[in-house]
Symmetry: C2
Subunit: 207 residues, 2 copies
DNA sequence: TAGATTGTTAATCGATTAACAATC
DNA sequence: TAGATTGTTAATCGATTAACAATC
């Protein structure tokens, strides 16, 4: 239940994965205890904000000492629901689809790509690493069968809205969209965007 | 000069590429005039916000009518400095580097990938589409020669900070980082992040 | 003219920060 | 104990929205 903790601002939720990522690196470095001050310096944000954010979910630190990194990692994973592994599908077997199908970074972060779909007969049946590209026509059925909740859209912008509509109809609840277009989805469906052009254009103003 | 317009909040600058993207789609659809209301509906934000954002830079609309799409596209491109084409380099010739080197979406959006670097001898000299992978050891020199200002980091997280340091030393002013790690860069250097895991983790809280 | 929509102001809403008592 | 750092409050800061005169 997302409201287990009451109404947490979305902007706070958005920072938790950032904290988690930094804390996991600390673990990797055998850095077992940290403080809001240290974490803040690593991330370039204020210590007060980190303490305030964490305090929305409980009391995880100890005065005078700080936070046990391993405990905080475990706790954050539980809070944002990546203490389990989510099955994820990819729609679109072009360059982007290939890239994310093979991306090793999902491992141990709560996600596992399990299927890749495309509607191009020339691509259906071909292999991408361990995956055999499946026919988009069978997508809805397979989403329902597998009770899949998360999808990544890697089709051209012109097809993205149609794909999103199909995904939502099939029961998908969270979409990561790589197509450079804003999609309309019903309330309650999560959507995030990755568009390198937008990121670059956010910076050129300052150049 | 970024302060041609005074001190515009960063959050406003960040929305301009979103407006631009939507307006360019309208052009594509031969949709020549729009209003803050219409644009707001497409983007799922408020019309007042769009008008307020645009008004920071001038008066581009007409009461009773709205905005000329083509004029607004041209104006936004000038404001965020993508009315010219920026040369961009990629560091890292792995899967991600391959993907962005071949990504067609930069065309006509103000960016052109011109070089790909890697420090792996097995990769140097190999081809990625039209690019020949160049030796990272020659990177700084080539950045200076070409007066390049923008770079995309596509190396493993363990190498990303070192690469960023080198880029900054060579004169790079804007970095798009695909490595899943927060980087430290000096003030005045722009940095943006793309990490699909973070985006997915922002959504699972609500599932 | 009547209707529509801008640009802008003031009010509201929300997020961040500074400060500090509590306490390890 | 003395020093350090949390969790939390209240103050500040900033962003969004509602409303409307101006005007096309």
């Amino acid at each position: 239940m997302a409201d287990k903790y009451g109404n947490i601002p979305n902007i706070v939720i958005g920072r938790l994965p950032l904290y988690l990522r930094a804390l996991q690196y600390m673990l990797l470095e055998n850095h077992l205890v940290t403080s809001s001050k240290e974490l803040a310096e690593r991330l370039g944000i204020s210590a007060a904000q980190i303490r305030k954010d964490l305090s929305q979910f409980g009391e995880f630190g100890k005065q005078g000492t700080g936070y046990q990194v391993e405990f905080l990692v475990r706790t954050l994973k539980q809070i944002i629901h990546v203490d389990t592994t989510w099955d994820v599908i990819i729609i679109g077997a072009g360059d982007i689809g290939h890239g994310i199908a093979r991306y090793p970074g999902f491992n141990n972060q709560g996600f596992r790509v399990i299927k890749v779909f495309d509607n191009n007969p020339a691509k259906i049946g071909t292999k991408i690493g361990e995956f055999v590209v499946e026919d988009s026509a069978t997508m809805e059925e397979k989403i329902k069968e597998g009770n899949i909740k998360i999808a990544m859209i890697a089709v051209p912008a012109s097809q993205a809205q149609q794909v999103a509509d199909n995904l939502v109809r099939a029961g998908i609840k969270a979409i990561l969209n790589y197509a450079p277009i804003t999609l309309n989805v019903p309330p309650g469906i999560q959507i995030q965007y990755i568009d390198p052009v937008m990121h670059l254009q956010k910076m050129t103003y300052y150049l």
